[in-house]
Amino acid sequence: MGFRERHGIVDLGVGVGARVPHYETIFGETPAMDWFEIISENFLGDGGRALEQLDKLRHAYRVVPHGVSLALGSVEPPSAHYLGRLRALVDRVAPPWFSDHLCWGRVDGMDLHDLLPMPMTEAAVAHVADRIKQVQDTIGRPFALENVSSYLTYRESTMPEWEFLTEVAERADCGLLFDVNNVYVSAKNHGFDAEAYIDYVPAHRVVQMHLAGHTDMGKYILDTHSDHVCDPVWELYRRAVGRFGAVSTLVEWDENIPSWQVLADEAARARGLRREVLAASGAKVEAQP
């Protein structure tokens, strides 16, 4: 039995990231949207309006927390304080899964606030897999691991990224949050085959996909979530849907945040493309409310 089936993880449809500039529309008009993803760290405070707004959001929509600070690859473990707050947030939201990245970001007591890439070695696989098991046990919900965009490669890496991601997920027995844009960005930056990446990862573990825009910096591509999803990423998404099936999809837009309508249209485009690919494959397309 695959990961999704074992954990009863359903397809939520196509959602968007909940961001403050859209709150007026979301809370005022309750527009149609399949689901929302929240950045966990924005809701780990002691109190205030953020938690009130979260409660309003989760009463109207399905909400899934997506973190940026677990830093699973860091040798330093996440603090008990952080894990306790994350547990409280996950308990409050009761999502079908929660997610964070395959990266490191904490060292010498510092939080570097970045998703820093791991050297892709056997030792790193073992380290991250153990850390994920601990986190999954502590939080008590299925965990999905996201592939990050990267701008560097380590001399000591011994395997390609798709093997590294797969090895970690298999050994930790966790789900995957497959970021299509991140695969595209890293493939361009490092010159690997994005389609081979999609074709390699274990489909049954993919519980969610991310779509986003990026910025071409000339010598490299930067993952900025600041624009529309570009055509080559839509093409990769088409391939990913064909391979992974009816998997929840989320459009991220964090910089140069557009109007609600533009974001909703981007989600609608993903929804249409998904429906088209799944219909062609004969799969059911019924997002769970």
Binding site: G45, G48, R49, A50, Y151, L152, R155, E156
Partner: protein
């Protein structure tokens, strides 16, 4: 690389470098680290690869502090503000998972480090902006139920302790720096105010962050109550320190309590055991 920890430690040090790794005079140890640890590729050399992350470290934390200290940047100008941020990150690297907490030690830095400490208005303004950021997601507290007052026997009042909201702060400033902040945030012309002792209460209200200028007796009494002194002792010390007439003080006390309760600054009263 000898170990994952060693790699992460040297990587973290390189990110915090104030100098671009591709610039002339870049710290040798970081350049050597990049060349030893990174592969480089067709698009970027090993050092350029690491520089992408160093630059992002700087931009991300600068942007976060710009958002928190809008009025301070307005006062200092772009270049001096960036110099302040560099000095701050050097002295206080990020140690909290939340960027919301990144500027917590900024008041301490500008109070104690040259050249910032020689500008008293800057010290005030940083304190005001940081208080607003802190209170944004400070802990919630159950609203104070005025009916609780009736349950406290009159004789017990002097020994009762008063609990203040965790989303409430008093700042003792040398100027009305909050007016400068408000002007900058609303796009009005902002002028550095005259020096004038100012006791500013800042609190998170039901829908927004609010502030109020207090007279010195109120601010001193509230500080003593926050420190845990029983009401009687706090009042007595405040009167003595400020040489206030006891009858005047008592006349005003009831009104102060009503205001503090209405504004949500008080969250509980603990009668003596």
């Amino acid at each position: 690389m000898s170990s994952l920890f060693e790699l992460q430690r040297r990587f973290g040090d390189a990110l915090r470098s104030g100098t671009a790794l591709v610039a002339e005079g870049a710290p040798e140890e970081h350049v050597t680290f990049a060349q030893d640890a990174m592969q480089g590729g067709a698009r970027l050399s090993a050092v350029e690869q690491l520089e992408v992350y160093r630059e992002q470290f700087w931009f991300r934390h600068l942007a976060s502090l710009q958002e928190d200290f809008v009025a301070v940047e307005h006062l200092l100008g772009k270049e001096r503000f960036q110099a302040l941020v560099r000095a701050y990150l050097e002295e206080h690297p990020p140690r909290h998972f939340s960027l919301q907490r990144l500027g917590d030690a900024m008041p301490e830095l500008v109070r104690s480090a040259a050249p910032w400490s020689s500008d008293p208005f800057l010290v005030d303004l940083v304190a005001v902006e940081q208080a607003f950021v802190f209170l944004f997601d400070a802990p919630d507290a159950q609203p104070f139920d005025p009916a609780m007052l009736a349950n406290v026997p009159e004789a017990a009042w002097p020994l009762a302790t008063i609990r203040l909201s965790p989303a409430f702060r008093i700042l003792h400033l040398g100027s009305e720096a909050h007016l400068y902040r408000a002007a900058v945030r609303t796009g009005e012309p902002a002028a550095v105010p005259e020096r004038k002792p100012t006791h500013l209460a800042v609190a998170r209200g039901k829908t927004s962050l609010e502030y109020m200028v207090l007279g010195e007796p109120q601010s001193v009494l509230l500080e003593k109550l926050r420190a845990g002194l029983a009401l009687g002792e706090a009042c007595e010390r405040t009167q003595r320190e400020l040489a206030i007439d006891a009858a005047d003080f008592e006349t005003q006390l009831g009104g102060w309590f009503q205001g503090w309760t209405a504004w949500g600054w008080l969250v509980g009263i603990d009668p003596p055991a």
